[in-house]
Symmetry: C2
Subunit: 188 residues, 2 copies
């Protein structure tokens, strides 16, 4: 109750999103759960879409903040942990994942990309370290190698969430990433 209304609105929207998907997020229910009327959100957000964009941006910032890892661990392990963490997060909160990468007007999409930049740069650094440690091909540009890993993580997470990862539905998305890392490490 001591939280400001804006934060309570964000929390309520996120909880509704997690529980019932995007169509469960109505301003009337958001307002009700935050203890205000159904149009009080308009005093804090320009529209329902702006409220959802704030939820998405908050999730992206939290993702970026978790990309530091133990400095004691080898780079290859930290990289693997980071990629696994991203997948676990997507599987744990699939509707947030869908929200972030869903359909947005261009200006909102640009803001979300900006919120993801910190995590992207941290990942590129981790990939470069792993290359130096000999656990990834040294010849490849870190940016391009990172793009390959990010695409695999994104796709494995989305296929797992939607049930398309394997025909029997038993394949685990983390195993796909482990296979990729093993294959990239090479035969030697």
């Amino acid at each position: 109750m001591s939280q400001p209304t804006r934060e309570r609105l964000l929390d309520a929207a996120q909880a509704l999103l997690d529980d019932g998907g995007i169509e469960a997020v109505t301003l009337r229910e958001v307002g009700s759960r935050a203890g205000v009327s159904h149009n009080a959100p308009y005093k804090h957000f320009a529209s329902k879409e702006a409220l959802l964009a704030a939820v998405a941006a908050r999730e992206l910032r939290q993702k970026a903040a978790s990309f530091h890892g133990d400095r004691d661990q080898p780079a290859a392990e930290r990289l693997r942990d980071s990629l696994h963490w991203a997948i676990a997060r997507a599987v744990a909160h699939p509707n947030r994942f869908r929200l972030i990468y869903g359909r947005w007007p261009t200006d909102v999409a640009a803001e979300l990309v900006r919120a993801a930049q910190e995590a992207e740069l941290a990942l590129i650094g981790l990939v470069a370290e792993t290359q130096e440690a000999g656990a990834l091909p040294a010849g490849a540009e870190p940016e391009r190698l990172t793009a390959v890993l990010r695409a695999a993580v994104q796709g494995a997470a989305e296929l797992a969430i939607s049930g398309h990862l394997s025909l029997d539905g038993r394949a685990r998305p983390e195993a796909v990433i482990d296979d990729l890392l093993t294959l990239l490490r090479g035969p030697e």
Copy 2:
């Protein structure tokens, strides 16, 4: 006009989806474009969701049908073409792509997975052929190698569509797949 109403409803829904995203698909507009009333769709589909599921299934079947390729080409080229085609299709019709892999009740999701099985099996066969041709690691199980490639394709397409593929937005998703294929081919 000679088309049955059911087909006209599907076409109208797909056109609205392509043009304005999922929120532009209203039964009133679908009916109007198909030349019927706003609730005539209920005589052909149980709900709006069932109509959208039929649009998604149709798109998936078309995807499967395009996975044969020229028998004259080497397997590695056919594989690369198939993966590029899947990405190009997603970029050309991003809202159909989002619809297919979006949030569905479990029974609908299962039906969509079934509609994608044919394409999945064809891809596994193509990967196995490419392994035999020496353009992919021979030691890996074709199913697991296919899962890696599918995840990368899915993720590269989604990141490209949402603008998250690269910070400057100039990276192309097809290049990510080419990089992956080159890396997997190995240093020899």
